[in-house]
Amino acid sequence: MTTTAVSAPLISIEGLAKSYARNTVLHDLNLGLHAGRVYGLLGENGAGKTTFAGILSGLTHADSGHILIDGEPHAFRVPKDALDQGIAIITQEQSLALDRSVAENVFSGQLASTLGFVRTRALREQFTSLRDSVGFTDLHAGTVVRSLSQAKRQQVEILRALARDARVLIMDEPTAILSIAETQHLLQLIRRLAEDGRLVLLISHFLEDVLSVADEVIVLRDGAVTFAGPTEGQTPRTLTQHMVGRAVEIEHKRPTRVAPDAPVRLAVTGLTRTDGIGPVSFHVRAGEIVGMAGLVGAGRSEVARAIFGLDKISSGTVAVDGVELRRLTPHNAIRHGLAFVSEDRKHDGLSLVHSVRENASLVVRRKFARFHFRTVRPEKSAVGRHTDHMMVKASSIEQSVWQLSGGNQQKVMFAKWVMTNPTVLIVDEPTRGVDVGAKAQIYDIILGLAAQGIAIVIISSEIEEVMGLAHRLLVMRRGRVVREFDWGATSRAEVIAAAFGDYEQEDDTRDT
C-alpha cells in the first residue's frame, strides 16, 4: 500500500472545469489516481460524476484544465483517443448494437482480422476465454443481444470494456440493474482487476458496495471534491455527510397498520401471460404496500407490465376497487386509476427531447386544459411542486430531460405518475440510480401516498428496500409467487433463499 502511494499517479487531473451554459457542472477539479487501486466516485444526482467520467473517456470535453497520463498531458477528442491511452468506460446508459451478436458487440472496434477479413473462429475463441476468465458463463458468443435481458446486456457491456485490456476502467453505475449474486461477482472481479495493476473508477449509489471494494473514495458535491481519501474509517454515515452536507439515515420503521377490513383496491386473480409467466394472484388493500422481491428474471416486472396492459395475457383478471377491467390496455388502466412507474426510463418512461414539465404532465395534461386548450400556469406550478418535492435537480422545469443526470430522470418519471393521483400505484425499481438523500425522500413519498389510502405495489432488487417498506412481501421465482412474508417477519437471508428456491425441495420438482 505504502509503495503505491509514494509512486507517481497514473492519472493526474489538474484544474478540470466544465459548464453547460450558465450551469457549472465541474469546478476546478484536482486529483491524482494511482494504478492498482479501486476508486469509488460518489455524489448526489447531478453532482457531476458522469460528466467527469465522460471527460476522462473522451465522450465529453472539458472547458479548461488538463489530464496527465504518466505525467504527459492528453486531450481526448473522441473515445478512441482515450482507448488508445488504455482508458475504457462502461457508460451509465446502455449502448449496444441490439441486432448483433454478443461476441461482435464485445469486440466491436477491435475485431480479430487478416487483411480486413474478420476471423470468426478467433473471435469466438477470444470471446470464450474472456468470458470464462470473468465468469459470465451463461453468455454465448452467437446470441443476438436483442434477445437478452437487461442484466445480461449489462454483462456484455462489462465484457466490452474488459476486452480492451485497458489500464483504466471507468464504470458508471454498473450494478444498478444487476441482482445480488451478479453484483457480488462484479465486485470480486473489480478487486481482481486492481490486483492485476489496473485502475478502476467505480461510480455507484450503493455505499456498501463502494465501501467493500474501493481503496479510496472521492466525493463530489455540486461539481467540487468534498472528500478524497482512503476508504478506511469511512462509513455510510460519513460518506452521506460528504455527499449532501448532512447526515441522512435510512431507517425503516414499522409501516402504519392497515385495517384488516380495509377495502381491496387491487385484486389480481390467476394472471397468466402469453409467455407462460404466472399464474399470479394477489390483492392490495387501501393504504397497503405490497413488495415484490425475486431475482432478475423471476417475472416481477413482467407481472406489473401485464397488469398495466403493456404486455398480453392469456388468462386472469385485474380488478380495481372491485371493478374488473374488461380489457387490459394502458389507457383503460389509467382510467381506472392505475399508475405504473416502469423500470426502463429510456424505453417506456420518458420522452427525452421534451422538457421536464411536458414529461411530468403528460398523463394528467387534460387536467390542465380548458375546452381542450392548455392552461400553462397551473400546470407549471403543479409540476414545480412535485419536482421540488422529489428533489429533481434541473436548471428549470423547462430543461430537456436528456440534459438531466440519470438519477434526476428517474425522479421525473416518478413525479409524472404521482401527479395522476392514482388509486393504485405500481412502482418498478423506483430508486434505481437515485442518490441516498433522494432515496429517503422517495420512501417518505411512498409511505405518504399509502397513508392517503393508495394501494401500492413496489418491485425492487434492493431487498432492504422492499423489506423495509412493504406491509407484505411476496417473493417471486420462475414466474410465480413462491412465498409471502409480513413486515418484520423475515430476514434478508431468508428472502434470498426463497428467491433462489433452496428453501423447499419439493417446490423445485413441482416447477420443472
Binding site: P79, A97, E104, S108, H347
Partner: protein, 317 residues
C-alpha cells in the same frame, strides 16, 4: 433457454419467410405458365434486375450504417453523362473510369453533408440529388448526350455463358464483392455497429463519421456503375434518367428484411427483394393480368415487410 430458442426461431422464421415467398412464386409461375421457365424469360428477368439490383446493393451499405442515400439515380445520371462525354473523346475505358471517380466524389459530398454538416441523411441526399441533377442539366443544356462509340452497348449484349447479358454479370460481380465486404470484413462489421448504435460504436473506438462517409462513397461509386448500365441500354444519357429508381431499391431492401432503423440487414436480402419485385412484374406480364394490380401487390408487399420489421422490433424492445 426456451427464451433464446424462440428468439432464434423468430429470426430464422423471417429468413425463411422471404425465401419461401420467392420459391412459392417461382413454383406458381412455372406451373401456371409455360413461358416462365424458358431460358429466354429467365435471361430477360436477370437482365431487367441489373440496374435496380446494383442500386439495391449500393443503398444497403449506408442503410446498414443507419443513413439513407436518396441521390443515387441523380449520381447515376450525372456520372453517365460525364462518362459518355469523356468516352466520345478519349474512349470507353476513360469514360467508365471517370464515371466511377465522379460517383465516388459525389458520394463523398453526401457523406460530408451528413456527418460534418450534421444534416439528416434523408434531407441531405434529397437536396444533393437536386443539385446533381441541376448540374447535369447545366452540363448538357438539358439535351440527350449520345455515345459515338458502340462499344458501350457491350454491357447489354449476351455473354458467351448461358446467354446471360454482361449487365447481369456485372450485377453478380457487384453482389459478390459488396456482399463479402459487408458480411466478412471488419469494415462491414463497423457498418453494423455504427447503424445499430452510434453511441456504442463511438465508445468502442469506431469512427462513426469515417464509416458513414465511406458508406456513401461506396453507394456513389456503385450508382455510377448502375448509370453505365442504363447508358448502355440507350447508348445515351440525359439529366432525368433513372429518376426515382432509388426508391425501388430501398423498397426492395426493406422487403428483403433490411431494417429502416439501421444495424440489421444483408446484401443478399436486398437482392432477393429485387428478385421478388421482378418476379411479380414478370408474373403479371406472362399471365396477361392488368398491370395496375401489379403496383397494388408490390405496394402491399412493402407495407407487409415494414410492419413485420416494426413488429419484431417492438416485441424485443
Amino acid at each position: 433457454m426456451t427464451h433464446s430458442a424462440s428468439a432464434l426461431l423468430r429470426y430464422r422464421s423471417r429468413d425463411l419467410g422471404i425465401a419461401f415467398t420467392a420459391i412459392a412464386l417461382v413454383v406458381a409461375l412455372s406451373v401456371s405458365t409455360d413461358t416462365f421457365m424458358t431460358p429466354g424469360n429467365l435471361v430477360n428477368i436477370l437482365d431487367q434486375i441489373a440496374v435496380v439490383g446494383i442500386l439495391a446493393c449500393a443503398v444497403t451499405v449506408p442503410m446498414i450504417a443507419g443513413v439513407f442515400d436518396l441521390s443515387m439515380s441523380a449520381v447515376a445520371a450525372l456520372s453517365a453523362i460525364m462518362a459518355i462525354t469523356v468516352a466520345n473523346r478519349w474512349g470507353i475505358v476513360a469514360g467508365a473510369s471517370i464515371a466511377i471517380v465522379i460517383g465516388v466524389a459525389l458520394g463523398t459530398i453526401n457523406g460530408l453533408a451528413v456527418t460534418y454538416a450534421r444534416v439528416n441523411s434523408f434531407i441531405a441526399t434529397l437536396a444533393t440529388s437536386m443539385v446533381f441533377r441541376g448540374i447535369a442539366t447545366a452540363v448538357t443544356d438539358g439535351q440527350i448526350v449520345k455515345a459515338d462509340d458502340m462499344s458501350l452497348q457491350t454491357l447489354s449484349r449476351p455473354s458467351p455463358i448461358a446467354g446471360i447479358t454482361w449487365a447481369t454479370w456485372l450485377l453478380i460481380g457487384v453482389f459478390a464483392i459488396v456482399g463479402i465486404v459487408v458480411a466478412k470484413t471488419v469494415y462491414g462489421r463497423n457498418l453494423y455497429a455504427v447503424g445499430g448504435n452510434p453511441n456504442a460504436a463511438l465508445v468502442s473506438g469506431i469512427s462513426v463519421t469515417g464509416t458513414r462517409i465511406t458508406a456513401f462513397m461506396i453507394s456513389g461509386g456503385l450508382s455510377a456503375v448502375a448509370g453505365l448500365v442504363l447508358a448502355s441500354r440507350a447508348l445515351s444519357a440525359q439529366p432525368s434518367m433513372g429518376t426515382g429508381t432509388e426508391f425501388t431499391a430501398i423498397a426492395a431492401a426493406v422487403i428483403g428484411g433490411v431494417s429502416l432503423a439501421g444495424g440489421a440487414g444483408a446484401i443478399w436480402r436486398s437482392v432477393l427483394g429485387v428478385v421478388l419485385l421482378q418476379l411479380i412484374a414478370n408474373g403479371f406480364n406472362l399471365l396477361g393480368a392488368p398491370t395496375i394490380y401489379q403496383q397494388v401487390v408490390q405496394g402491399a408487399l412493402i407495407l407487409f415487410a415494414v410492419s413485420l420489421d416494426q413488429f419484431l422490433r417492438a416485441r424485443d424492445g
